[in-house]
Symmetry: C2
Subunit: 321 residues, 2 copies
Amino acid sequence: MTEKKRLYIQEVATRDGFQNEKQFVDTDAKISLIDELSECGYAKIEVTSFTSPKAIPALRDAEAVMHGIVRKEGIVYTVLVPNVRGAERALSCGVDEVNLVMSVSESHNRTNLRMSREQSFAQLRDVVNVVKSTPVAINVSLSTSMGCPMEGDIPAGHVLDWMQRFADLGAHGVTLCDTTGMAYPAQVGELCRLARERFPALELTLHFHNTRGMALANTLAALDAGVDRFDSSLGGLGGCPYAPGATGNVCTEELVHMLELNGYDTHVDLQRALSASTRLPALIGHDVPSQLLKAGRRLDLHPMPPADAVPEQRAFANEGS
Amino acid sequence: MTEKKRLYIQEVATRDGFQNEKQFVDTDAKISLIDELSECGYAKIEVTSFTSPKAIPALRDAEAVMHGIVRKEGIVYTVLVPNVRGAERALSCGVDEVNLVMSVSESHNRTNLRMSREQSFAQLRDVVNVVKSTPVAINVSLSTSMGCPMEGDIPAGHVLDWMQRFADLGAHGVTLCDTTGMAYPAQVGELCRLARERFPALELTLHFHNTRGMALANTLAALDAGVDRFDSSLGGLGGCPYAPGATGNVCTEELVHMLELNGYDTHVDLQRALSASTRLPALIGHDVPSQLLKAGRRLDLHPMPPADAVPEQRAFANEGS
């Protein structure tokens, strides 16, 4: 018996998911969901974002949520922080980690964050300087690391250069984000190998979107390159604002389902995560992209339909292959 | 420069897709679509099914479709055939290949085909005996090869035994079908390696469903095991009758998009396939599962939104990662 390889699953639905939702999710409902997520076995939960309430009204209750949740030993509770003001708010709530975000492509950074990359970097450097003297960990999420919807391909060398700049500042971890689902497996494998080789001490996370159906295939490629840490979003929550109807973040339950079947130890209780996922549509007012929620786990078996059932009632009778 | 590995893509939308549709697709529309598919670069097109018009009314025009299409040199035009009567009809239309279907699990065979596996095998043996004396090729699609929704796991040895029985009869090819999307990558890799090792002379096709999001990940596993031939369905057409709303067959455009990005030569003109896929909703009266149709190819770039656009209009401005 070989021991199963441990993987680290990081839930982003209550931040990266909720921030895109038009319907405000009640603070108590957020707290109750996060408390349920804390029982699911995640390594990390991205609780909320300490951005301006005007910029992201969906997460205007960041303090109340951070103070309201029951924090469980062993889970890293992280929050997105855009600037020093946000960092101070986050630190006052006793977060375990701050997550800083900027894009590696100039166009996307200007569009998403309304400033140049150098302006973003300067702002995030100030954040690092505030947080560095505390025990709070610092992660940097690099958007558009596998392609920019306006500029196209981003050379791996550029991505590594941005990693270097944040490693030099003292960041503990970096997340390579496939912000609009442009990553493909061969590219992911190469970028991950280069990143792990050059930054063996950085905690490396991969953040995939399923926009073009490749999120789980990209996960396999990252695993092959030795990556052991993945962001995912319950229910697949988290829109892709430029493509209405398109899927966003890779779905936690589909990711965990595949990884566990493939023999990895994710520590995530899939049944419990699925049960939490069923709560989402009521909270956000619409269906979620999760296929697994519709189809069930692969061994959630079905009874045989009665022999005399008419074709429409015989659930599997489609003469299909 | 190493030469790109050639892969063979087999389109099943007009058979495995249309047979599940409630709305009858006009015969002329079917012919026009198949003629367009013939220009896309597929290795094989599953045109229709010579089943009883009562069993599958959606494909009651099988003869008219086969006679109506313009057949292009180099493409194998195959049809599903359930019995000797169907085989005689198919042969009279000059098909290139007949595709026979049965399940490797008893429950699914009884539910889908209303007979035991041995009854199915006897019936298909009669078909083989009719077709064998002609130049028409014989493929056998083995449903539930990677799991049965009623029985659960199917041992790989049982699947190989069924392959053996059809190889002994003289079948040219076998398709291993993940009928209800229960396959996972580690399982696919192992089954494909065993199948290729034991039956090096059989043309092996993998037929994945994306029911639980793993179709493209499973494709990577099959590729690693040396498989070079895949079924797929334009637009992701082809329901999963037991899970309403769940995705069915792996989507041709998403499969080809990933394979080409990963450096394979599929011979499929992706732009043309996408254009054909846009015709589907009008034909069947509803949206198709294809994510790529919504999101576009990864390098279909977008202009930067105007600098003064309000957040709701700034397509990428979600402060997301």
